[in-house]
Symmetry: C2
Amino acid sequence: MGGEEVSNKQVILRDFVTGFPKESDFHVRTSSICLKLPQSSKNGVLVKNLFLSCDPYMRILMLQAYVPFPIDSFTPGSVIYGYGVARVLESREPNLKEGDLVWGVTGWEEYSVIEETQKLFKIQHLDVPLSYYTGILGMPGVTAYFGFYDVCCPKKGESVFVSAASGAVGQLVGQFAKLLGCYVVGSAGTQPKIELLKNKFGFDEAFNYKEEPNLDAALKRYFPKGIDIYFENVGGKMLDAVLGNMSIHGRIAVCGMISQYNLENTEGVHNLLNIVLQRIRMQGFECFDYYHRYSEFLDAVLPLIRAGKLSYVEDIADGLNAGPAALVGLFSGRNVGKQVVAVSAQSCN
Amino acid sequence: MGGEEVSNKQVILRDFVTGFPKESDFHVRTSSICLKLPQSSKNGVLVKNLFLSCDPYMRILMLQAYVPFPIDSFTPGSVIYGYGVARVLESREPNLKEGDLVWGVTGWEEYSVIEETQKLFKIQHLDVPLSYYTGILGMPGVTAYFGFYDVCCPKKGESVFVSAASGAVGQLVGQFAKLLGCYVVGSAGTQPKIELLKNKFGFDEAFNYKEEPNLDAALKRYFPKGIDIYFENVGGKMLDAVLGNMSIHGRIAVCGMISQYNLENTEGVHNLLNIVLQRIRMQGFECFDYYHRYSEFLDAVLPLIRAGKLSYVEDIADGLNAGPAALVGLFSGRNVGKQVVAVSAQSCN
């Protein structure tokens, strides 16, 4: 009845986090797991995790306070979870069988039992790197695609500004906007990222927000006629500066506000009156509302990847031991491109 | 060639205004006017003003700083202007003739020469009070109607919160929401206004924001399941509290932010992260974008007024001398209902 007993390395949250998360907020332990679905489970799958995704929203799951969010907060003392790519070892689901590859919500550990299989997508296309299903072909891709095309309602020739532009979502939004014929400017926090934006992703302009003494002046320099579309990933001071530089009937798609997640008291935003004066639409959205359109997304994006019209830069940390540092590194901008954790050296097999 | 020379009482802005406007920021002078369109004018109309409208946006026109707004700022030393109802005395416009009644942008004076006649609407329906064309059938009516139906996308049974709810726009939004079958709560700043909301306009609930030590707690009391629609007229602290109490996919129609117009440094709003978490749409709008649909609006609203299904409360100040006090009174909430100035005792003739 029982399967093989193997060791299972796991990333554990020590306690709820206040302020910036630190590596020491987590510990990596080696537990053991029986490679067999529990007898009691009527459904579910047992998977071997291959790649894990580091995403800013995970900071919200480290908060003790109740936050209205479609993914439950982490439990101190337990394994953390997030998006990942995994191989099915055993399945009681009709649509999944041993050997299938999936992406979706899984644990930060070598092996996971996943009961909420409605949060898994079967991977059908293997001519692209498997890790892409944590990024360009996974949650960040869905977020960028629908956030840009559906929420921003972009038109050819419009002016687009993307913050955290070299990140998992931002790099895609900028490229989608360029493909549509928009003028695109991105901001990021290091010179190598700025160069990536201009040379790899084809942004028209990019600037290092940390080196701008006055964000308002920087935006006026790049957008003398105003910003038609702002793809918001950071919040706070940047949002305030953008609000003072929008065009009439401009749109702000609010994807995230990474600069605010670690603050106990968020920064006050002052320029909201411009929402009336400029008739701005500011809209929050989440990938969860678009997953039913995943095949539409794949149909659009896979051909662009195959044709070399869409690049994707990943920053892959090696092994679960490197996971905590990779995860907390998001909040200091340590990663260059999409931050992924390869669970083990065998991830690619 | 010349017409009769008559006296023309006028309200003049002394200088640009900082902080709360005061009666002394204006003076009323008696000038004279020749009741004849200037020989040089190719077009335009000469009108006798009957009713003038006091509206919060006029505060923005008193600022020295450039503000992106479809109506030019006032000029110190000159007559102020705004929406009003007037009778045509002479016309060089094919669509207007002597004796016609119009509403639109005119001067705060007894007689005005109006050259921008594209900003005038001919009044066709006289079975309602003429002053209504400064309110329920004028700019505030258009604002309330399209702001609610178009921007808020309301559905029967939804929970609606309206701030400055007894004002020119708010009282209409609340009644439109009730007619649609929504649960409607309003806030205002005095007990008589609260009673008006509940007893005259049929709001389900109303509260005096000045008597609530904690706006967040007040909103949680009236909206235990969250606010689906917020019709925003005030901004600042109220907006912050509302952002903490919205439902998923809630909508905020930003009509104005009267609490912020007199502040040199606007209040910071902190709860914007909820825009992502709750996937909120926050949209600024202005009546100017809806004037081409004025006849659609009249077709919907006139029958409701005639059938007694829509009430409208006005606060009519008597004579131009009372104009400055009426106008600045908006910002201390002195008015009960739509603030209008009757230019003279003959306004109704």
